[in-house]
């Protein structure tokens, strides 16, 4: 068992940069310096506080995502942003630090939208708490959301408080074979009104949809849409990127749903706002949105303006003046 005081001691004593890892399942996201000394968070695990009626769980960062999800499931609750599980070892601290959300993202919000608070160990080895366990909190700057997606470049996330929600009464997943244009317009029409749509993906001429909600609402919508019922496990596999295993470069475009389809994508999900290309011949470009390359050899995040870069460097300087936390992970000149 790794305690906060052990993490603090490691950080305070660090004379050279540390590579913070949970399950080390996201090595292909951003620049990872394998030669750095490891700070392994998996030992700092366990649920600290869980009151189902409060819809809040406070959990240590090293807790495996699957363990957390299973615990919530016993109370019929879920993490609505549907954390992607890139392997059994994947920890909640890793998911939050990477700011990753799953198939439900467009319909229920992102990981950051469910972060209520965080306990972090910063440059001096001191443990600090930001945010809290309540639903609304505007005291001080929103540091707990800032660390979500920072890839550990600001500090060590020791624990997080997350908003949880009741599990939907019923879920059904459907597959429909249809041309792209029809798929786009079906998804758009479902988004344009209140509907139980909770996931959508288009690949190889097949549109997959998931409906979640009250029994009767799901049944009505299912009847209207038709299609063939598929196993709900489809979405978990999709979010894990399992089907792209073995690729040397996975390119992800984050754009808006209506952006022109400029490539022969291997998959489009999040209501066409997230698009994937596996091992393209050349680095893809697009007129709208930004690309992330998930790769062992040539990872990259989307580019940002010079002003944004400056703000990133300034913030990095505040949280990590000695540059010990995952230096360079977000890219050179950024953080």
């Amino acid at each position: 068992m790794l305690e906060v005081k052990d993490i603090s001691a490691r950080v305070a004593a660090a004379t050279s940069p540390l590579r913070i890892v949970g399950g080390d399942t996201k090595r292909r996201y951003g620049h990872v310096d394998e030669s750095l000394e490891l700070l392994e968070m998996a030992g700092h695990a366990g649920i600290l506080d869980y009151h189902p009626a409060e819809l809040v769980v406070r959990v240590r960062a090293g807790t495996p995502v699957t363990e957390l999800v299973d615990t919530l499931a016993k109370e019929n609750q879920v993490l609505a942003f549907e954390p992607p599980v890139h392997g059994e070892a994947s920890t909640i601290g890793g998911v939050i630090s990477a700011g990753l959300s799953g198939s439900r993202r467009p319909y229920a919000g992102a990981a950051r939208d469910h972060v209520l608070g965080a306990g972090v160990v910063l440059f001096d080895g001191e443990y600090r708490e930001f945010g809290g366990q309540v639903m609304k909190n505007v005291a001080g700057y929103d540091v707990s959301r800032l660390i979500c997606g920072a890839y550990g470049t600001l500090g060590v996330v020791a624990d997080v408080s997350l908003k949880v929600l009741p599990a939907p009464e019923r879920e059904v997943s459907l597959a429909l074979e249809m041309p792209l244009i029809e798929a786009q317009s079906l998804v758009e029409s479902l988004t344009r009104r209140v509907s139980p749509l909770s996931a959508s993906a288009y690949a190889a001429g097949v549109l997959s949809l998931r409906l979640s909600g009250l029994e009767s609402d799901v049944a009505d919508e299912q009847l209207a849409i038709g299609g063939e019922i598929i196993d709900d496990v489809y979405w978990r596999q999709l979010d894990s990127l399992a089907s792209f295993q073995g690729a040397s470069q996975i390119w992800r475009l984050s754009t808006h749903a209506l952006a022109p389809v400029e490539h022969d994508y291997d998959r489009m999900d999040w209501g066409f706002a997230q698009r994937w290309l596996v091992d393209p011949a050349t680095a893809p470009t697009s007129s709208q949105g930004h690309w992330t390359c998930i790769s062992n050899t040539s990872p990259s995040f989307g580019s940002m303006s010079l002003l944004e870069q400056k703000l990133h460097r300034n913030l990095k300087q505040v949280f990590d003046p000695n540059g010990i936390f995952n230096p360079g992970r977000l890219g050179e000149g950024v953080a």
């Binding site: 009626a53 409060e54 950051r112 909190n137 209140v194 706002a273 505040v318």
Partner: protein, 484 residues
């Protein structure tokens, strides 16, 4: 610090046509919604374009003159209280809805557009903007971003931060930066989240792209009256625990009910000690199921009277009393002081009972009307500002409530912000290590410290003076921030 020299004022007049210096016109801007804190601004400027905002900001930066942004001035924590030797930047002329993208479900608006005007601009096409502060007729989206405002519907649909996709911001040196974007994420740190609730301390918001939602097909409002405050408080927890997520779940206590009834006659039972208003939405079949479920919970919690309103007129009537509760309370006392602490829901009944004891201790009445589903309290302390002793007692009472919220694992502010009002209580909620980081964030955006100086984050020496923290003078990490 540098003053507003004649040269500075001449340069300011060259940039913007509307520059106010006459004392009687400046007086209009002395305070925001927190009228107990007043400060005459040095000068008021009302710009019309982003270019002007950039030049004004750059000018203030160059001359090191404090700059405070103001939307509608409905803030309740003194966030828009002016600086007496600085510029008050009034965003009132940024009042255009620039574009509505019906297919993408977004609207691009200027920061001075009122919250309700956004919904008005899109309701004909079946859409709306979800966060709905009670002040929505008046407050601006720029102010909403700066405070991360909430409203009745935030229980289900989230706060401002959950409903904004992109903002354009003028940084303290006059540079314009776009934060966020049309997709679901952007590379790097979540600066969009950081800007929300930053109280005009990090940049001036000059454009906002909001997420719109389709209007729910069916809506119902349920009202339940209770003869015990405890029962109402427990009913809140029971509804949430039942797995239903209401669109809104609000509570009012006896004094608030009576004031609202006297003011507009919404039909609330005045013999009740507390009432709950619960809004549910969904499809027609779905809604019936939810109504039955919640009615069951309400009866099980001991409600003495329940009403269900499904048509628009009846619903509006039930909500009217809640929405007018603040002005209604304003009629029964010369002044009221609105608190904003947030607590875990399970502490509702114990905290309400402690507030009632504190009310006796400070000999001031208190009305409670608040976002119960979020655990976000709004005790309204009744007092008379002309009586200095009452004002002091009201402030001490408020501070005691905030201390109570922190003790129960909550926060001093759920949606109104820290401003100047809760600056001392920040020293209780955070220790010097955390405050140092806040000062660092401020300095990362605003190294000279021109934006809204003295607000939101207390200096460590202030905390030391307040007695909540031990700091040796001279140990501050970003001493330059205290220059004003």
């Amino acid at each position: 610090m540098l003053h507003m020299t004649p040269e500075f004022l001449r340069a300011l007049k060259r940039i913007a046509s509307e520059v106010i210096l006459e004392p009687e016109r400046l007086a209009v801007y002395e305070a925001d919604g927190l009228t107990a804190k007043k400060q005459r601004p040095g000068v008021v400027v009302i710009p019309e374009t982003t270019g002007q905002v950039q030049r004004i900001t750059a000018l203030c930066h160059e001359h090191q003159v404090p700059l405070v942004a103001r939307g509608a001035g409905t803030g309740l924590s003194g966030g828009a209280m002016p600086h007496h030797e600085g510029v008050l930047l009034v965003m009132a002329k940024f009042n255009q809805v620039l574009a509505v993208n019906e297919r993408a479900l977004t609207a691009v608006v200027q920061p001075g557009v009122t919250n309700l005007a956004i919904t008005h601009a899109v309701e004909d096409i079946g859409l709306y903007y979800a966060p709905d502060p009670s002040s929505q007729i008046a407050c601006t989206i720029g102010g909403n971003v700066a405070e991360n405002s909430g409203g009745v519907h935030c229980l289900k649909y989230g706060l401002t931060v959950h409903n904004v996709k992109e903002i354009k911001v003028v940084l303290p040196d006059g540079e314009l930066v776009t934060i966020g974007g049309p997709g679901f994420d952007t590379p790097g740190y979540d600066l969009l989240a950081l800007m929300h609730g930053s109280e005009g301390m990090l940049g001036i918001v000059v454009e906002v792209t909001v997420q719109l939602l389709p209007q729910p097909p069916e809506v119902a409002v349920l009202m339940a009256a209770f003869s015990e405050v405890d029962q109402a408080a427990n009913c809140v927890a029971d509804i949430i625990a039942s797995g239903v997520l209401p669109a809104g779940l609000e509570m009012m206590d006896k004094l608030a009910i009576e004031a609202a009834e006297a003011f507009i006659g919404a039909g609330y039972p005045t013999d009740a000690q507390a009432l709950l208003l619960c809004e549910l939405d969904g499809t027609s079949t779905g809604l019936q199921i939810l109504i039955e479920k919640v009615l069951g919970v309400m009866r099980g919690s001991g409600a003495i009277d329940v009403q269900v309103a499904t048509d628009a007129e009846q619903r509006a009537k039930l909500w009217q009393g809640r929405k007018a509760a603040f002005p209604a309370v304003g009629r029964i006392a010369p002044d009221y002081y609105c608190m904003d602490g947030t607590i875990p829901r399970r502490e509702l009944s114990s905290v309400l009972s402690s507030i009632s004891s504190l009310s006796n201790k400070y000999s001031l009445a208190v009305a409670n009307v608040f976002h119960a589903g979020d655990g976000n309290l709004h005790p309204l302390i009744l007092y008379d500002a002309n009586d200095n002793d009452q004002l002091e007692r009201a402030e001490a009472f408020g501070s005691a409530i905030l201390q109570l919220c922190i003790d129960k694992g909550g926060t001093i502010t759920g949606e109104h912000g820290v401003g100047v009002e809760k600056i001392n209580e920040m020293c209780i909620q955070f220790d010097s290590l955390e405050l140092e980081i806040f000062h660092g964030i401020k300095a990362a955006f605003d190294p000279v410290g021109i934006l809204n100086p003295g607000k939101a984050v207390p200096t460590l020496s202030r905390c030391a003076e307040f007695g909540a923290m031990h700091v040796h003078v001279g140990e501050e990490k970003f001493p330059e921030l205290d220059r004003f």
